[in-house]
């Protein structure tokens, strides 16, 4: 093996010829790509294409049926401290019982046993995480009082406070209005650059991300394509991926994929 390829195996994500199945159904086959430090990747594709399943694979919650999966040079394992994961469908129960800063603090030591006592250092870390996602002004507010976009920022801060090298965000833009979605995306883009953290963001709509992402992974029809948005989201690539004619229309600086369900 060449030294270069050994090096590539240490990257945040290294997938080679990976096949994923779920309940006897083939979800993805022949997935091969790597993700580098500080890269901002959008994960796109129709429902059931395996976007969330891909995240689960990296989290060690499911095993590949074939191929090689490495996260920072190691086989995926549950509770990997190098991965920060913000799940979809977050229900924040007892919304008025905790403040924004409590929710962020959970990311630091919420999984540890014992009562945990407040300290200046802990407070500083929480403050810094809130600052980083520009949520300082509502640090003391009850979570239930916050908007969807504000809660997404907290979710991000909760993940970042643990200093992960790879962040997996599952549909963070769902149910957000366009302005909030754009804010979250530019925030994440900035974090990739400033922290050198790799981010995989699952989304249905590429448009809020077009200006910010480095590459997209497009999953459909048990296959995938990876590359810059302008090379992947094209009539040729998507038609071959879906195996039927697909049209990509550009209008008002946005891309619209026609002929498929997104």
């Amino acid at each position: 093996m060449s030294p270069e390829s050994v090096n590539r195996r240490q990257l945040p994500v290294f997938l080679r010829n990976v096949r994923i199945g779920f309940g006897g159904r083939l979800i993805q086959d022949e997935m091969t790509f790597t993700i580098e430090d500080g890269e901002f990747i959008a994960v796109l594709g129709p429902n059931g294409a395996g976007k969330t399943t891909l995240l689960k694979l990296l989290l060690g919650l499911i095993r590949p049926e074939a191929g090689e999966v490495l996260v920072f040079g190691r086989r995926p394992s549950r509770g990997n401290p190098k991965i920060g994961y913000a799940p979809q469908f977050r229900t924040l129960d007892a919304n008025f019982a905790v403040r924004a800063r409590d929710l962020v603090g959970f990311g630091l030591d919420g999984h540890r046993w014992g009562p945990g006592f407040p300290s200046r250092k802990r407070r500083r870390l929480v403050d810094a995480a809130l600052e980083e996602v520009r949520a300082s002004e509502y640090a003391e507010a009850a979570v239930g009082e916050l908007s969807g976009g504000e809660k997404q920022r907290l979710s991000l801060a909760q993940v970042l406070i643990a200093n992960p090298g790879l962040v997996l965000l599952d549909e963070p833009l769902a149910n957000l209005d366009i302005a909030s979605a754009l804010e979250i995306v530019s925030l994440v883009g900035g974090l990739c650059a400033s922290r050198k953290v790799a981010v995989m963001l699952v989304t249905h709509d590429i448009n809020p991300l077009l200006q910010h992402v480095d590459r997209v992974v497009y999953m459909a029809n048990a296959r995938s394509a990876i590359g810059a948005p302008e090379t992947v989201i094209t009539r040729e690539t998507l038609s071959s991926l879906y195996n039927h004619p697909v049209e990509v229309v550009e209008a008002m600086g946005k891309k619209f994929v026609l002929g498929v369900e997104t």
């Binding site: 989290l59 549950r78 509770g79 994961y85 913000a86 799940p87 469908f89 977050r90 229900t91 924040l92 129960d93 007892a94 008025f96 019982a97 905790v98 403040r99 409590d102 929710l103 959970f106 990311g107 030591d109 919420g110 999984h111 540890r112 046993w113 014992g114 009562p115 945990g116 002004e137 509502y138 507010a141 009850a142 979570v143 009082e145 916050l146 908007s147 979710s155 909760q158 643990a162 302005a179």
Partner: protein, 289 residues
Amino acid sequence: MLGELCSSQIMAHAFIGGAIVSVVAGSVGYFLVLRAQAFVAEAFTDIGFAGATGAALLGVGSLVGMIVFSLLAAAGLGMLGKRVRGRDVEVGMVLSFALGLGVLFLSIYSRTSGSHAMSGINILFGSMLTINSTDILAALATCATALGALAILYRPLLFASVDPAGAEARGVPMRALSAAFLAIVALTTAACVLLVGILLTASLLIAPAAAAVNLTNRPARAIALSVAAAVGVTWVGLILTFAGTIRHLPAGFYISALAALTYTASLLLRKRLRPVRAFERAHLDRETG
């Protein structure tokens, strides 16, 4: 007059026992409220009733019976899934079955032993005024165990109760945590039933904690408030009971009434606190957004 009250050993026992139970009920209750498991707490009190009457039938201590029964029920409920949220049907069935068992044990006991069903009455309504030092020691040991376990689970339990998806993503063992918490609830209700009876335990577990959650969004502060409210309600209830000795209204009435009153007061206070904050937020949004 208060000096007179406290000089009596019965009263001293009642105050001490009530305080021990209230501290644990207030703390455990906070998590029951966060996890929307008030109904589960209710079920555990009925399970405790079956345990206590069953123990009387076998001639063992009622606390032992209650603990064994409630821990069994906790294991059963724990097997249902990660969380016992929205499991109304299962919990309701366990509850009524346990109550039925309790009635059966009680009727056999009172028939065979020929005694009046006094012990049953004590279990139902509590025996605040007949607490002896053995009861207090037993309750203290049980409550200390429950409180110690709760302290160990505190951070992951809070995380899992408020943000289950986030906690699971961070590697919190949800199922084990849920089962462990149910065991804590089991111990707590057993101790509570011993001192304040089945009918009262739920009011002491739920009302102070629910009131505290209405008044603050800081977890540690909420627990402190909840404990203070539980102890306060119990002690004021006892004082009223002893003060009105001639009429002899049961302590249970005062305590449950005060608990309900505390919760109602917290609702009214919250209505005055919350809309202002919500308005401020909305206003801020408009300015910055």
